[in-house]
Symmetry: C7
Subunit: 96 residues, 7 copies
């Protein structure tokens, strides 16, 4: 994506909500839970501290992360919906 | 567990609430006290300070800790319920 | 432009709102979305920190940036409308 | 006690409220003043500052301290009631 | 002027509001826009930081600056009206 | 007194309120002004800063100080009433 | 005066309000403007910063200063009314 988040911002794409139950029944939109899992799409260079050191963000492009339930900024890039979170607000990442 | 908390977050699993009295009587759910004891399941690498040093968290995986009554973030991982707490919000740990 | 923002302020000019649909139909003003894309017109020297170092701003004149939905200060210079944002409030920049 | 407070927390046990007047009359519970004197039972290792130094707490196990009227967290350990206070919230200690 | 602002305060004199339209019509007072342009009349030595360094203010006497719409302290010196602003609250300056 | 305030706390004893006018008339309690003068009875070792230095308090035992009108914590020691103030909240001291 | 303000506090005496107009007419008390000019009577040693350096106050005894409209603490010393201001709250000083 041709977008560079600034400072410690992380651009993520939420995973798709499940729209069909395991039994194959279509779920109405409001029954679809809020998806808190997302994939990192782009990361900022990191926050600048008081002594001008840059602290790199703690996640990498491609990693799967767990988002907090609230917060984040919705941004539309090339007609697709993404979210920006501060590195420090991302709860954790899924590891192998 | 295949999940790594970020920064100074600590993933814990609460101990089971007691559902039966010592005398063997079944307790209705609302009589079961909120369980404040938990086991540490995963820990973040630690918070990053102004001079870019990482302060490791003060608890280790497997330790039994005392949680504050309020706070923490419920997360569901592999269909099981866990809680994320900031290292600094955990009240203390049980030692031998 | 003959204006120098102070500290970490960034002067931007918002892109024009689309006033005509792709099909050629004129859009009434309230149907025109708020434009969050802008071009950097002038930048301040950067914020001064506690040890008197200046942290340069993270965007350059001519770069295209993504603004937050709220915030910023409208300023009129030579009868034209611009906006001042703090460097840290700009969400990201578009890159090639 | 098999409990280690974290950071600058101090575990104290409040002295017993006086339940009988000097003249020997039983005091009803609500006439018994709030007891602000307590004995230190366990102390945390101390708070960690920005440069990762640990500042030891200023009281020791066994010392008799004066608690503030409000604040503190009630914790139950081995069926006994204790209180956790931040080191900095304890008003002072009784010395010989 | 025989007045020295303290710390990072800047004393400014607002430009006169336009009281006549270009066509020569007298403007009633409430139609006269708030004037945000001002000339720097006196500057403080600068704020003192934690390590006792003084950070000089970023504007000089005689410079023309852009004020924020709100804030500032009105002061009367020798029967003339001036305004004190913190250096950091001044939006920018006009340059040749 | 057998009490050591912690950190930058200062234990003071307020001077007696005047209960009789200069003319010898007894003043009812509510006509007796709040006494803001006090004598320092005990002082803490001082506050601990971020780099673990202790900053000694600025008053000494026996000095007569001016208290702020509000604030302070009433404490009872050996059946006598004292007040604890933070060193930084004491307005000044009376000198010869 | 036999009083030493603590830290960065400055003791000032407000100039007298004008009680008579230039034409010689007595002004009722509520028509007398609040006097913002004052003379410095005593100064504290200065605030102590995080690294234990003392920052001397920026005004000297005898200097004439401009006070902010709000704030300050009224104190009565030897039956005379004075005001205590933090050094940083004094707007500026009158110079020759």
């Amino acid at each position: 994506i041709k977008f560079l988040p600034l400072f410690d911002r992380v651009l993520v794409e939420r995973l798709m909500a499940e729209t069909v139950t395991k039994g194959g029944i279509m779920l109405p939109e409001k029954s679809q839970g809020k998806v808190l899992q997302a994939t990192v799409v782009a990361v900022g260079p990191g926050a600048v501290n008081q002594v001008r050191n840059v602290t790199p963000v703690s996640v990498k492009v491609g990693e799967k992360v767990l988002l907090p339930e609230y917060g984040g900024t919705k941004v539309t890039l090339e007609d697709k919906e993404y979210f920006l979170f501060r590195d420090g607000d991302i709860l954790g990442k899924y590891v192998e």
